[in-house]
Symmetry: C2
Subunit: 224 residues, 2 copies
DNA sequence: ACCGTACGCTTACGGTGTAAGGTGGGCCGC
DNA sequence: GCGGCCCACCTTACACCGTAAGCGTACGGT
């Protein structure tokens, strides 16, 4: 007695990889990656867990696909503006995507076997730098430096307990109250006199480091 | 019939948290974090899985403890040399530790509730910058930028399929042969003419970006 | 009309973290 | 000397995980 009782004729759109991936991304966004299981994902798309294997090879394939979805959301750099503003915009867009999908950065380990959107992204970035006149070597330096920074920042940002600066501040206060202040004097002073000060927002730090790297690259480009 | 048959009198050292953590680190180093299970860890220290719960609260507590072990291996920055060389040495040491324990960077998500070695580390870094004359704000900028870069680089490095540049190169060749070269021309050119060239080693990129950031910080410090 | 294939289902297995409760030896106060 | 407690260890059990294997049915092509 599967499907329909002869008369009804349901929508009959038979599910595909893309819908599975989108559902997985939504589920991970909402409940965290650790609670994304094949059974719950199946339930979300109205199917038993095992049926998902008609559209993904296994769970790591699913995760690979999800990462590719994230990359597909990052706007590609254009050659029209200079390399510097193109790289800056790409970095900001990448951080935004990784911040929308906090689970993504933790999945970068399975980054072996990149998807098409991921490859297209890398291709566009390298193309932008090369067209601007970067040597292969300097392009490699630049790409490694920028991506390391972006990924690392996303990693630290994800480590923050809560989303808004206010929540984080409240929780930082509770945390700092737990440990012996006199054992970590600099850390305590830093927390009280800077982090817990109104207006502090870790997210704001992103642009400082980004511009540090971009300016350094500009100098290296000019010198080379 | 537990323990000893009356006469023997075994060593009778009853296991403690530290031995559990050390064994967990060794196991993760050897076989990867995903194969570190409570049962295998128990077996490694000669105990049933459930007995481990006398020394760790649960698995995330175990993972927190393992991260603290990693931090404890990173030499603290000293105030004797200038801040720049101190920060440089710390960065190199941190990368080395994260590279020795490739599983660690993927655990930074559970970085809530830092252990004592982690706190001591943060305290020493902030202290070094403050003693050198950094304002709280610039110290925050500097710390965020450096740590983002270090963590992100470790993340990318861990993504590499194998350890030695030669192995990676061989595998990159196999990977690049799989995808349509004409769809990703810049990526293909970059791979063939730079990455697959003899002597290329992604690990070397670390120092370039690191010095970019340190030089930028020095300039910002001088200007402020 | 037929058949192959794609897509869904059910069942089952080994492995996971850990809650609950039992057992025995070492150490304390009497 | 000895009763009792505590604590490290054990066994058992449970819910949940990814997924192998196999089965039925609906649909598109010939």
């Amino acid at each position: 007695m599967p499907a329909q009782p002869a008369s009804g004729a349901a929508p009959r759109t038979p599910l595909n990889r893309e819908r599975v991936l989108q559902a997985a991304v939504s589920l991970a966004d909402a409940n965290g990656i650790e609670s994304l299981t094949m059974r719950k994902l199946g339930e979300a798309v109205g199917v038993e867990a095992m049926s998902l294997y008609n559209h993904v090879a296994n769970k790591v394939d699913l995760l690979d696909g999800m990462i590719d979805v994230v990359f597909s959301e990052i706007e590609l750099p254009s050659d029209d503006d200079g390399w510097k503003t193109a790289m800056r915009r790409r970095a900001v867009a990448a951080r935004a995507a990784l911040s929308r999908h906090r689970w993504a950065i933790g999945l970068m380990e399975s980054r072996t076997s990149p998807g098409p959107a991921t490859l297209r992204h890398h291709d566009a970035v390298i193309g932008c730098l090369r067209n601007a006149g970067f040597s292969f070597e300097l392009a490699a330096h630049a790409y490694a430096a920028l991506d390391s920074y972006i990924y690392g920042f996303a990693l630290q940002e994800r480590g923050l307990p809560f989303d808004s600066p206010e929540e984080t501040s409240a929780l930082a206060q509770a945390m700092v109250a737990q440990f012996p202040v006199d054992e970590y004097p600099h850390l305590a002073a830093f927390t009280f006199e800077h982090v817990l000060q109104p207006g502090y927002d870790f997210g704001k730090e992103f642009e400082f480091g980004l511009d540090l790297i971009l300016d350094g690259l500009e100098r290296a480009f000019g010198a080379g």
